[in-house]
Amino acid sequence: MQDEQIINLYWARDEQAIVESDRAYGTLCHSVAMNILSDRMDAEECVNDTWLKSWNAMPPDRPSNLRAFFCRITRNLSIDRYRARHMTKSRGDGFEVALHELAECLPDPASVGDNDPLPALLDEFLDSLKPTPRKLLVGRYWHAYSVNQLAETYGMTPNHVSVTLKRLRESLRDFLTERGYRI
């Protein structure tokens, strides 16, 4: 079923929308959640919550990119769940490493308000990159793919990926520093 049709089902308040969403994007959303949570049950619940949240969001929302729309919801839900879970214990794996890495190149989130131009600047920075480095950066810090996953996908050694990411983080930090951010 085409995205437009799925959206129409949401707007028609037809519960088949959830079935079709799960059929088309269940796997994808599950992988988004798994990358963050590393727990199948938690991931499954996030995916289910994604459909609920989508049901509540459409209407009035009419996303132009349904795939990204679902991914974004799943990601946010997974972040919430991750936070709740880490009140008790740390996962201590590659994902946390990624979080630390990201902190090296972004300003303090508390200093970034809703109307801050940072998101647009991030887009500008990403636009300035070649496709592969851009996919590496987004893959690592948006989708939370592991270095090994990225290496396998893009035909690189894990070390090459790590070095590339390090340079990208430095570039991003410089880019934002030049534009007045304190990192």
């Binding site: 059929r23 796997t27 994808l28 599950h30 992988s31 795939r67």
Partner: protein
């Protein structure tokens, strides 16, 4: 955890970057066994005695259906006496393969050794050993295929599974068709058949009895190593000189099997791994059932029998209180196991009716057949087929078990739920191995007097270009199964059992006819494949006048 806020902050980038960087979720798992073991039953089913019997029955069916008298053909026995027919069949095979077709063709002989070598290569220059590139000036050529049998089972997989090889089967076949088009300068049109089994059966039967010159070559499934998921069998193939039957991408054994009196009128349906009948089960739903049985353990210990299945169904019924549904599932699965539902009565809009129930032709399948009859005559009601939409409650967590074909099973896995796969149960513990049959695949290449040379070349090139495609099947299975990171190895073990015990039922079809009712390509989907089909269809129709 403060760092998570940075992750959240980075989440505010635009959607286009998000989708661009997506990679599918595939967990690497070891490759399944290549090739498919032929079990003793399989050997019997492809052996001369069985083949002779089936051939006679098929010929008789043709005669009855079409009204032709077989007695008038000097190569056909008058009575279905398998042993008496066997020797004659063997002789005629030798005549056909060794004398009439292969030997005496100097060009072919020269190329044989070359071909044998070339099939060892994984990917060469793309040049066929003896067919030179040529230009038929865009002349049309038609191929028909069943709706659900050309990898269609994969077509509704999510886009992000593409990397996992889920659409590799279709893509690979289309690629080879395009390579053939380029190689010969022809324009190949594809016709999709609405009812892949019923109509195609009659394509074979009716055309085989015809005496006119418009031969339809029917291709059927064998393994993934040849024409994608299809094996070419020709009617009468020996008249198509371009085909190199000695090359190892042709299955000589199957062709000889279907040769009578020097002519192979029969298109063979052998097993096609992804479409073997099996049982899917919803792992997560099953986990909530008040039963402690590990279904995979039952299979591996050889205890997965009909009685066990029925007991398990009873134990899982409290999940949703729909015991009858589960029971029906088992009945349907069991009918599939012995080939009944696969081979039910066929009716076409030509008014032709023919029963294809051949389970009663095989001693080994009789217990299954009888058991199925018991079930039919009991209180159970057959559930509707998968194609009628009864998979929906299964997918939506309403049913634990579901009879299915492996193509469907692969698709279930792509839905993001956790589905396992089981072989069809044994009749009882005395049954030595699990048994399944493959869902039949057919493909027809139109071949008239005016395009006989081209027809042979197209067939040969398609087979030649397909010789390394086995990996595509592996990729599809691996990709879809590999996405589940729990129990993958056990799933694969079940798949191997199914593959190793899946048999062709020995159905034989004679071909040389084109029946009405072929759909003129897909009209609803807007996928690129569809566009290609429709485009090719228009071209081919214009060129051939079909």
């Amino acid at each position: 955890m403060k760092e998570m806020a940075y992750f959240e902050l980075f989440g505010r980038i635009s959607d286009r970057f998000v989708t661009e960087a997506l990679i599918p979720a595939v967990v690497p798992v070891p490759a399944p066994q290549k090739g498919f073991k032929q079990t003793p039953l399989g050997k019997f089913l492809t052996g001369p005695a069985f083949i002779a019997t089936v051939s006679v029955l098929a010929a008789a069916a043709v005669a009855i259906a079409i009204g032709f008298g077989l007695a008038g053909r000097d190569d056909t026995p008058n009575a279905p006496d398998g042993s008496a027919f066997e020797s004659g069949l063997t002789d005629s095979r030798e005549d056909s393969l060794d004398t009439e077709h292969m030997e005496g063709d100097a060009t072919r002989e020269e190329s044989d050794s070359e071909t044998e070598n070339s099939t060892e290569r994984t990917d060469d220059s793309g040049e066929h050993p003896y067919i030179a590139r040529k230009d038929y000036n865009g002349q049309g050529f038609g191929i028909i295929y069943g709706k659900n049998l050309m990898g269609e089972g994969f077509s509704y997989l999510p886009e992000d599974m593409v990397f996992a090889g889920a659409t590799a089967l279709n893509a690979d076949l289309y690629e080879r068709i395009q390579m053939t088009e380029d190689y010969l300068g022809v324009s190949i049109g594809l016709w999709e058949q609405e009812d892949e089994e019923a109509l195609m059966h009659n394509v074979g039967l009716m055309s085989g009895a015809s005496e006119n010159d418009n031969y339809l070559i029917v291709a059927s499934g064998q393994s993934m190593s040849r024409l994608g998921s299809f094996e070419l069998f020709l009617t009468p193939w020996e008249s198509l000189e371009a085909i190199n039957t000695k090359a190892d991408y042709w299955d000589t054994a199957l062709m000889t099997t279907h040769t009578q009196g020097g002519h192979s009128y029969i298109a063979y349906s052998s097993f096609i791994p992804p479409n073997a009948y099996a049982i899917a089960y919803n792992k997560s739903l099953y986990a909530t059932a008040p039963t402690q049985r590990d279904l995979y353990d039952l299979v591996e210990s050889g205890d997965w029998t009909v009685e066990t299945l029925m007991a398990v169904l009873g134990e899982t019924a409290p999940i949703n209180g729909r015991l009858s549904t589960h029971d029906n599932a088992s009945v349907s699965a069991y009918l599939s196991a012995m080939g009944f539902s696969v081979l039910g009565t066929v009716e076409t809009d030509t008014g032709y009716t023919q029963s294809f129930n051949i389970a009663d032709r095989q001693e080994s399948m009789k217990p299954l057949f009888l058991r199925a009859m018991e079930l039919i005559s009991s209180d159970f009601v057959l559930r509707e087929s998968l194609e009628n939409g009864s998979e929906t409650p299964f997918i939506e967590q309403g049913e634990v078990l579901m009879d299915t074909r492996l193509t469907r099973e692969l698709a279930y896995r792509a839905y993001g739920k956790s589905f396992g796969v089981l072989p069809l149960p044994k009749y009882d513990k005395a049954q030595s191995e699990y048994l399944s049959v493959h869902a039949n695949a057919y493909m027809g290449l139109w071949c008239g007097e005016e395009n006989r040379q081209m027809c042979g070349e197209v067939a040969e090139l398609l087979a030649y270009f397909s010789r390394n495609s086995h990996e595509d099947y592996n990729r599809a299975v691996m990709g879809v199964y590999g996405k589940d990171d729990s129990g993958v190895q056990r799933d694969l073990a079940m798949l191997r059992i199914i593959h190793d015990t899946t048999h062709d039922m020995g159905m034989s079809y004679v071909s040389q006819w084109i029946v009405p009712g072929l759909r003129e390509g897909r009209s609803e989907s807007t996928s690129s494949e569809t566009s290609m089909i429709r485009s090719a269809l228009r071209t081919a129709r214009k060129a051939t006048g079909w």
